[in-house]
Symmetry: D3
Subunit: 72 residues, 6 copies
Amino acid sequence: MPFIKIELTREGVTREQKQQLIKGITDLFTDILNKDPQLTHISIQEVELDNWGYAGEQVSVLRERGITADKK
Amino acid sequence: MPFIKIELTREGVTREQKQQLIKGITDLFTDILNKDPQLTHISIQEVELDNWGYAGEQVSVLRERGITADKK
Amino acid sequence: MPFIKIELTREGVTREQKQQLIKGITDLFTDILNKDPQLTHISIQEVELDNWGYAGEQVSVLRERGITADKK
Amino acid sequence: MPFIKIELTREGVTREQKQQLIKGITDLFTDILNKDPQLTHISIQEVELDNWGYAGEQVSVLRERGITADKK
Amino acid sequence: MPFIKIELTREGVTREQKQQLIKGITDLFTDILNKDPQLTHISIQEVELDNWGYAGEQVSVLRERGITADKK
Amino acid sequence: MPFIKIELTREGVTREQKQQLIKGITDLFTDILNKDPQLTHISIQEVELDNWGYAGEQVSVLRERGITADKK
């Protein structure tokens, strides 16, 4: 009975990437905890950049300054 | 002081149905736990079908295959 | 595919009352939205009175003053 | 490592007000708990008035009756 | 900036299994979305069996009947 | 009608600090958005160190290595 809620900034995640996340996370719960996939639900919430704060700043402002969330 | 958060797929829930859910759930907390309705808040979040995963699949894909969430 | 998260103060809700809430809310989603109960999950989180704030005060302090969440 | 999730009705909160909330809340966690702001994330979710229930009513209905959430 | 919240029933998940979930999910966000792991936070909430409802029943009751969440 | 949910690691936050957070956040919503404090609810959830992941690691492991969340 896991329910997984993902919140992330709305920055162009594609339908295929969402499917990869859903498949990958569901598989982790089956592989690690032997959970029946029929009981695993996942909800993805994309948050506008004005509505996410990090280090006291709106992410929309951070992006304007060229600061990304990309892996270096 | 209950706060109730509902997440469900965005599939045409009407304004009237939302009102029925809000009234029904608030009444349950008053009837069962004697809670003051003035302290009961409910938030309904409708999630796009691409953003809900079930059994490792996007619900949008399940719906294309004719698999619904309807009671049989 | 509804997921319902309930947060309320930890004030002696019994096992039977939790079952009544679970049954009542699941039935509402079936009755109003025709949802398959096999797809309805509910999680109840009981919050310590020091950890819930209302009107700028900890609920533990409000309770010491005799202010309850009971329906009048 | 705090994560703060704000849910409020969608009623015209401006970009500047969101920034004030983000800055103010992040500062509270630094001032009170000495938290590194780089570890404080905040997500603001604006909820449609039909989707918020209070005292058994949709907020959209309450607003039509002239009942607001303003401080008196 | 993803934040991932996991809710699952409290049924003996070990420290090592939690670490595997944390590592696995963080890696998925890096592999699929190129997210900096320093910006990925995960919170796991284990829910008592009396406090999780599925199909209108408490999970504690389902377990007493021998119904598990195991993959068949 | 704001509801604010705080998740943070369980690391000895005192009752007084919780009260300061509750008062400070409630005041921000009144000062910035003119919200009636009677409609502002806050829930604080303290998460065990084994149950919080950051950068792919359990926080309990990070703490054993001397890595804190303190502001430098």
